[in-house]
Subunit: 221 residues, 2 copies
Amino acid sequence: MKKINIEKKILSENEKCAIENTFFFTEQKKLCLNMISSPGSGKTTILVETITALKDKIKIGIIEGDVQTDIDAERIRATEAPVVQINTEGACHLSAVQISRALKELPVDDLDLIIIENVGNLVCPSAFELGEAGKIVVLSVAEGDDKPAKYPAIFAKSKVLLINKIDLLGHVDFDIERAKDDARRLNKNIRIFPISAKTGEGMSQWYDWLVQNVEQEKMRQ
Amino acid sequence: MKKINIEKKILSENEKCAIENTFFFTEQKKLCLNMISSPGSGKTTILVETITALKDKIKIGIIEGDVQTDIDAERIRATEAPVVQINTEGACHLSAVQISRALKELPVDDLDLIIIENVGNLVCPSAFELGEAGKIVVLSVAEGDDKPAKYPAIFAKSKVLLINKIDLLGHVDFDIERAKDDARRLNKNIRIFPISAKTGEGMSQWYDWLVQNVEQEKMRQ
């Protein structure tokens, strides 16, 4: 029982800061998305391709969360998009206060969209709101079609599921309909885009969704 | 500061129970290994193949950790090996007390080797000792060769690194020498076996290591 109480307290402090972040994004009319996946599902490659493809349409800033290293931030930096690195030094998820601090280092006024690349972890980040408008969960087909059933929380809470690395579908056992069905059973409104960030297949539907949602955020009264 | 103190306290309680588990394994002369990886790196397939290949040499029991479902335990059960399922109901790692309870449900006297399949998570399980003699980290080549650098804790602490899904090496960008070098920089004694649990390539070296370590545990004074 004691353990549950401690967890509740930490979550509540995080939630308070997350609400402040949400106020900030709403006031600034900036869309913020929180991208979550296992290590190695391809989040950074998706972001690099997305920034490059949309550079004439929307300006994207990135908050890059990693346990260690700035390998991913360097890859983002090569696109010339603004990026802030957060190293959690072992912690398994980003917190709202880290996002609040990172926002002070981003040129928010110049941006249309802020994407947070969370620490590679399919479990913990789903429990910590950062103030984002929506979560994007990425699942690589190499991870297996049973992941929505086995890690339901993040699939239940996400606006979008990107099923990445579909160029590998001929080489791995992955039933895409099973993954889609299980994700929709957890979350009937989830948008699902099968993509390959490597070959570009399916990416245009994801880009359209992003541009449309950025526009909706700007038009909101 | 308060947060650090709370974390310390929880870890210490876990460590106390982990030491009790270690005493138990030592007394019983049973080897216990703790297998850790990202979701979808192939832990369960490795275990199914290992149990089947070694069934005439060593008797293996499995403690199966999952956030939800008994999908993996069912796959293990099909091999007829004894298996105990632990569902963490959202928690991101197994704890030593869960292992202590699970051991009461396993026919330990009949076993040579107990393998704990931890929750799919490359971050949190590395911080929680369960009383095992060693950790086995699994990295799928589909996850990328930068994972030892980006998630150093588990590579620094593991006895063995299984680089799995090498049948995909022609289809993904993965420099196996970079992954090996980075892992050895963190841990000069780590044993590295490149394997494909799907095709069987490289598995015999892993089996030899297991059999040898089980024998050493039995011979120990």
